[in-house]
């Protein structure tokens, strides 16, 4: 397995705070590498070191070496625009440029000197197709990019990043702002792209890492805890901290066995429906209820506990809706 990016003794500081502590690890070529770890552990910082976007943060300092194709990207004398051209970036929140869909994709090639209209047309079509957006936008290429849905915008950002013909795609929690369907879309595109590109994805979603990653790097509080193939890390982690992290996130992202939507129901009824739903479940299974009635948020868990079931969590999922998790006991 050949490494595309070699990270050697990288330290990063924001002022006094050390965000990365002596990281040394390699990122394999033409595979998906997931950088996992809790928020604030330095995942995004590491990603920003690759394409030197960290330079834009006031007071940030980086030391060490990051070798890409024999070139140290942290070396102050290299052409940083060339480094960035080689690495497409898929941001946390889609950031379309304030121009049309077409101009967004053509932006990179134009910067790097493609002026021929026909060639640009081909490039735009090619990469919109690769990003899986062409069919949806081919009739309105001239309309502004910010009129697209968030999911479409993110695919546009992918197309835009690919249009400069990078070798590496950096993804900084690329689906955290997207709905589940759009997230799935992006994940599918990434899986298709891994034959041609080295992909690095930062994610705190363990499920996403399991679905996508071939190789996993676990960071915790700026330290490299563990790295290895996805199989090794997920099935048989060497480090206790990795095991705890994986299990911890898996427990909080509970698997539900049944789900009942009680939105629009008022109190005695959602009570009855919840009871019925639990009745059909086997012991130990988990039921997810969605309610929007403020009384139900308090009374349903109370009632279910009185019936001897275990209420695992009650949390607000959006402005009106609440999610109640109940484990059936007899």
């Amino acid at each position: 397995m050949k490494n595309h990016i070699s990270i050697r003794n990288v330290n990063a500081f924001y002022g006094e705070h050390q965000a990365l502590k002596d990281i040394t690890v390699g990122i394999p070529e033409k595979q998906i590498t997931a950088i996992i770890g809790p928020s604030g552990c330095g995942k995004s910082t590491l990603l920003k070191c690759f394409n030197r976007l960290i330079d834009l943060t006031d007071g940030a300092r980086v030391s060490g070496k990051i070798i890409v194709d024999g070139m140290d990207v942290l070396d102050g004398s290299i052409d940083v625009t060339e480094v960035r051209r080689r690495m497409g970036l898929l941001p946390q929140k889609p950031n379309p440029l304030p121009m049309s869909i077409y101009d967004n994709v053509a932006y990179g090639p134009r910067l790097h000197g493609t002026a021929d209209k026909k060639k640009l047309d081909q490039t735009v079509e090619k990469y919109l197709k690769i990003a899986g957006l062409w069919e949806e936008v081919k009739d309105r290429l001239k309309s502004p990019a910010n009129k697209l849905s968030i999911g479409q915008q993110q695919r546009l950002c992918l197309a835009r990043g690919l249009a400069v013909e990078p070798e590496i795609i950096l993804c900084d929690e690329p689906t955290s702002a997207l709905d589940p369907v759009s997230s799935q879309h992006i994940e599918q595109q990434l899986l298709k792209l891994k034959n041609d590109y080295t992909i690095v994805i930062v994610t705190h979603n363990i499920h996403q890492a399991i679905r996508l990653a071939d190789y996993v790097i676990h960071l915790y509080l700026g330290e490299l805890v563990e790295h290895g193939t996805a199989n090794e890390v997920f099935e048989n982690p060497k480090e206790e901290r990795t095991r705890a992290y994986i299990n911890g996130t898996l427990v909080t992202d509970m698997k539900t066995d049944s789900e009942v939507n009680l939105k629009g129901n008022v109190c005695p009824f959602n009570f009855v429906y919840a009871k019925q739903a639990l009745h059909t479940l086997e012991k130990g299974k988990i039921l997810k209820l969605i309610v929007d009635d403020p009384t139900a948020v308090i009374e349903v868990p109370r009632g279910m506990e009185a019936d001897g079931h275990e209420v695992l969590s009650v949390k607000q999922v959006n402005k009106t809706d609440w999610e109640i998790m109940i484990r059936k006991n007899e």
Binding site: R85, L97, Y107, G108, K142, P144, K147, C157, R160, G161
Partner: protein
């Protein structure tokens, strides 16, 4: 209870009256100026007044053409100096300058805005005017159109007026443009830079696209300031009612005409009326430019939102 309600109603009415009064003030002033300038409009045709270039109040000749052109030339030349310099300064401060440098330079620029116009005028008389009287004969001999000078210049000239004006509008354009640029979301820069754009490409193609309407507004504000500025210009521009043919010629802008002459020799027939007509013209021109500018801004904004 009754008194409380009464006070509430009273306060509401009073504030309505105040708001109404201040909003119609511009019309009251325009109407008053029109009524006072009516005698001269009845005596002369508007065409003669606007396009006539003889200004001899004793002979009853009131041609505003030199004054109108004087105003336009001084303002336009000032903007030619001020706009590129201040936009580039704003870009430097917002995009390139280190935090520390910005924190030191910006307050200085804001201080510039607080200096009274008369001080600029004095500075112009002491520094700019002598400089121009020195360089005018040298450049004047080269025979470049609009830069010619026959023999001798006092230095009190269109150029002096516009240099002083340019410096006066700097702080307005710089500080507004800088704020506009800094309000452009960071994501836009990140997107552009991550595609391998240089900083300058990012500013030119991405950041400016968002900042454009705001910067246009800054320029327009600077323009209105320059157009109506009286004191500093009056002190350095020479105040000779001729149509300037070179930037080293003297000029006589409308505000200077009014400020210099109103209240003196008012016994000359129609003189008072002529000066108030000048005021009316000045006001209408500024209103026209402001409206046109608003229109452009609305257009730009619409184009920005609709792509």
């Amino acid at each position: 209870m009754q008194i409380r309600r009464f006070k509430d109603v009273l306060a509401g009415r009073f504030m309505l009256a105040a708001a109404f009064f201040s909003s119609i003030l511009v019309f009251i002033i325009a109407i008053a100026l029109y009524l006072r300038s009516k005698p001269i409009l009845e005596a002369k045709s508007l065409g003669d007044l606007l396009l006539g270039s003889t200004w001899m109040p004793f002979q009853g000749e009131f041609g505003f053409y030199p004054f109108i052109l004087g105003t336009l030339y001084v303002t336009a030349l000032a903007m030619v100096f001020a706009v590129p310099l201040s936009i580039l300064s704003a870009i430097y401060l917002a995009e390139y300058a280190h935090e520390n440098a910005r924190a030191r330079i910006l307050p200085m620029i804001d201080l510039l805005a607080g200096i009274p116009p008369v001080v600029y005028g004095v500075w112009g008389v002491l520094a700019v005017v002598p400089l121009i009287s020195d360089i005018a004969p040298v450049i004047g001999k080269l025979g470049i159109p609009f830069l010619s000078m026959e023999s001798y210049s006092t230095g009190y000239s269109l150029l002096a007026g516009s240099i002083v004006l340019a410096i006066m509008v700097f702080p307005i354009i710089i500080s507004i443009s800088e704020q506009v640029l800094r309000a452009v979301p960071f994501e836009v820069r990140e997107a552009s830079l991550s595609l391998g754009a240089t900083r300058w490409q990012t500013i030119k193609h991405a950041v400016m696209r968002i900042a454009y309407p705001g910067i246009a507004a800054a320029v327009i504000l600077g323009f209105s300031r320059a157009f109506g500025e009286t004191m500093a210009v009056l002190m350095v521009v020479g105040n000779v009612p001729i149509v300037p043919s070179s930037i080293f010629d003297s000029a006589y802008p409308l505000p200077a005409l009014i400020a210099n002459n109103y209240g003196e020799m008012m016994s000359i027939p129609l003189y008072d009326s002529a000066l108030l007509l000048a005021a009316l013209i000045l006001m209408l021109v500024i209103l026209f430019f402001t409206l046109a500018a608003r229109l452009i801004l609305v257009r730009i904004e619409r184009r920005m939102t609709n792509g």
